[in-house]
Amino acid sequence: MNKRQTRLSAETIAVSRGGRTIFEQVSFTLGAGQMLAVTGANGSGKSTLLRAVASLLPLAEGTIRFEHPARDDATIAENVHYFGHLDGLKPGLSVRDNLALWAKFAGRAGLPAIEALEQVELDHLDDLPAGYLSAGQKRRASLARLLVVQRPIWLLDEPTSALDSRSEAIFGDLLAQHLGEGGLALAATHRPLPVASHATLALGAA
């Protein structure tokens, strides 16, 4: 389809939390299949930027716009997958039950839950309560969430933390596939990403 029309753009956005400006005058534009790497020291506002793009935090200034040929009416919130530090897993529920709720999110239906777990190599643990998973396995279970519902923008906050080299390669493949299908991604990271980014946004230390 006309991929060229897919565009995520931020114009001179600023976010302040608790009366303190975290960053200001940040602008970027991303097209289909592109990834923006967000770098910066601790506390420079990488996570804040991702949360602001996800509309989880209010913007103090500027605007963020998302244009997509097939999704005129959807808000940005309904077009993003936010993959943050917290996994959103309930320790008492099985991995499969945790995923079952995320699969009912608004958006185009993706893989069935069990296939998404196969992709992240957790299908053998699908009936285990999520509380028994290791840190890396929890990350992967959370990653499966990005597969059960298709959304064009992935917001990845330190996506490779706690992942071993094999899981990192799996993550790289999934990310490359997402971008290959015309998806967009913003990744905040300190470590090199497994997939080459289209551009880098360096946030100065506050």
């Binding site: 997958h81 917290l86 309930k90 999110f105």
Partner: protein, 223 residues
């Protein structure tokens, strides 16, 4: 979208029943209060039967406040709340789903237990029936009002008792009309329908105000 709503209701029920046994803690607390009253008041059956409905209502009120503090705090702590906000379901409906789930897990057991506990207090059949009916109508109002308090303290670390203190004053009208429905039938001989209809109105109004105010409180706490 409606799928997500019902899935969230179901999951809230399972989490409330599962981890820590929230529902049963409430029910046991309810039983404890009711069981202790005769020891304090003394073995005066007439007096017990007369104050029974009020005791059941107060015990139910306190029991519903028990598990409220964790209603949204758990979701915030593990990141689920962020995901709910991105789910595509309006936050008001997320709060409504959580409140319905919480009522099914903690309010409904109290309604079902009320007839048994009415017997412990030596109440008559009519009074027991009315207590059960008014609790069925009134406990959703208690939960919906409590949801606002639960949403307000979500951003705070240790808000346990704060919810009860915040919410209790606003639940007084529910308590008044719940108990006066029963006493109208059993002692004063006033019309039963008037207080009962006000109780219904309180529940319906709080079913709207609770989710809207709760969602506003959650949004305000996102910073």
């Amino acid at each position: 979208m409606t799928n997500f709503f019902f899935a969230l209701v179901g999951r809230t029920v399972r989490l409330s029943l599962g981890a820590g046994g929230g529902a049963f803690v409430g029910l046991i607390f309810f039983l404890s209060v009711v069981a202790v009253v005769p020891f304090g008041v003394g073995p005066d059956m007439k007096l017990l039967a007369r104050i029974g409905p009020a005791m059941l209502w107060i015990a139910a009120l306190l029991a519903t406040l028990l598990g409220l503090d964790r209603l949204f705090q758990d979701d915030r702590d593990d990141g689920s709340l962020d995901q709910f906000m991105l789910s595509g379901l309006p936050l008001e409906l997320v709060v409504l789903a959580k409140a319905i789930g919480h009522w099914l897990a903690t309010g409904l057991p109290l309604v079902l237990g009320a007839p048994v506990f009415g017997l412990i207090l030596g109440m008559e059949a009519q009074a027991i029936g009315l207590v059960t009916l008014t609790l069925l109508i009134g406990t959703p109002a208690l939960i919906f009002i409590g949801t606002i308090g639960a949403a307000l303290i979500t951003a705070l670390r240790r808000g346990g008792l704060l919810v009860a203190i915040l919410v209790l004053p606003f639940t007084i009208p529910v308590l008044i009309f719940g108990v006066s429905t029963i006493t109208a039938a059993t002692t004063t001989g006033m019309p039963v329908m008037n207080p009962m209809l006000i109780l219904v109105a309180l529940t319906m109004a709080s079913a709207v105000i609770g989710p809207v105010a709760g969602a506003a409180a959650l949004r305000a706490g996102m910073d």
